[in-house]
Amino acid sequence: MITTTIPESVGGPAIAVSGLTHVYSGGLEPVTALAGISLEVRAGEFCALIGPSGCGKTTLLHILAGLIVPASGTVTVPTRRNGRLPAALVFQGVSTFPWFTVRENVEYGLRVLGVPAEARRERALRHLEQVGLTAFRDAYPHQLSEGMRQRVSIARALAVDPDVLLMDEPFANLDEQNRLLLQDELLRLWQASGKTVLFVTHSLDEAIRLADRVLVMTARPGRIKSEVAVPFPRPRHFREVRRDPTYGALSARLWDELRDEALKAAGR
């Protein structure tokens, strides 16, 4: 069951999930992907979600984005308003439509929402400028690097002006240098926009670097195992964060939480 409400006030929960369970019944035997997940993400918060492979992270995001109807539990995300999407999902890997130009890709959500052509063009160009791709507005995705394509995906999500940005390992396919650049860019965009972000990742470093708070999931069936607050001030600079002694302690703490689950997921 999905209920949707407007977040009560700034600082209240933008996402509230309670007792969420989901079972996939398509295969030979039913697979319990999520077993009683409860979590809250405050409005304006950058929250990372880490967990071992196959723990149901993507399932959770797909439920929040409305792609999957969960078996049981309640999910609260902001309501849909005119010309806006409550929660926009940035997909794993590269997910631009190859048959649309960069601008058409960024306009996509607005087009589906029924925003008139002139207005959506203007909004798309504004978001392209934010990610530094104005010069490539008429290019097709195959002419772009992977990092640039992922920027297009992010611009497409931001163009629908969502309250919540759901990100499913958006930088997993990038090389390390591009990943660092895009992380910086995402933090900048997030700070300028005040959006709530739920960011799924495999990478401990990425979680610590980006998030205010890291949620650790168990191996399948997925539950929230623990949460770890990340104390570094904003705006963050990678080099300073790396040098901070707290960084190593945080990383070790997260790995302690995650290690058993990763072993379970690997079948040991």
Partner: protein, 255 residues
């Protein structure tokens, strides 16, 4: 870029080399010119056929049949292929029928078609339509099925309904495969129409070749074959050009 230029040069040079060799062999009598006339003689015959209006007439008849049959076959094939690609139920229901009719050589159905529709234009157009229908259908379906699921998910995550998913994902995503089907189909259409005209017809390139055989006009037979080859080549070029126009997003479209 040098390699590409070299490729282009080879592409142009190889048929010329073949024709020159043929000309020499035929003129020196290595090939008996009564059976294998030199290309120059075929060209002279061709020019005469053009002047007399005989060739343009037969060519126009064949081209008209191909175009009409192409439209008649391709339009429903694309529609049905999209439906089969998008809907598992439709696919399950129709796939056995399609899979069993597809491999029948369509020219073998021609006598039956003549029996139903007579020897006139309807039977020619129908055999062309029938011969390309399954090719286009199967390619269209494969194009939809082969699309990465993530594109459908993106569309749905942004709130697209069935129509939105169709017009922004399934249709543009399947177009490259549809063009592959159309290009394959064009070759088949040519094979089948010339075959059908040989078997039972009173006009068309195939009929012209058959008529030449009956009066042992070898040069005219070669002229007919040459026209058929050029027609096929031209049709492929035309479809390629349309495809590049329609699919500017394909990596090779900007070549």
């Amino acid at each position: 870029m040098t390699t590409r230029r070299a490729d282009r040069w080879l592409t142009a040079a190889s048929p010329v080399l073949l024709l020159v060799t043929w000309e020499i062999l035929s003129r020196t009598g290595v090939l008996d010119p009564r059976y294998v006339p030199p290309p120059s003689a075929v060209l002279v015959t061709l020019a005469a056929l053009v002047r007399s209006g005989e060739l343009p007439y037969h060519l126009a008849v064949s081209v008209r049949r191909i175009l009409a049959g192409f439209l008649l076959g391709a339009v429903p094939a694309v529609a049905l292929g999209l439906a089969m690609g998008l809907n598992r139920g439709v696919r399950a229901a129709l796939m056995p029928v399609v899979a069993s009719i597809y491999p029948i050589p369509k020219i073998a159905v021609y006598p039956l078609i003549i029996f139903y529709l007579g020897i006139g234009e309807a039977s020619k157009v129908s055999i062309v339509a029938l011969s390309i229908f399954f090719l286009v259908l199967l390619n269209t379906m494969a194009g939809v099925i082969g699309l990465d699921r993530v594109y459908f998910n993106i569309a749905r995550a942004y709130g697209a309904g069935a129509r939105g998913v169709f017009s922004t994902v399934a249709w543009p995503g399947a177009l490259p495969a549809i063009f592959t089907g159309l290009k394959l189909g064009m070759g088949f259409a040519l094979i089948v129409i010339v075959g059908a005209e040989l078997l039972g017809s009173d006009a068309g390139i195939g009929f012209m070749i058959w008529q030449s055989y009956q009066i042992f006009d070898v040069e005219k037979m070669f002229a007919g074959l040459l026209v058929t080859a050029v027609l096929g080549w031209g049709a492929t070029m035309a479809l390629d050009a349309i495809e590049r126009r329609a699919l500017p997003w394909q990596p090779w479209a900007q070549l």
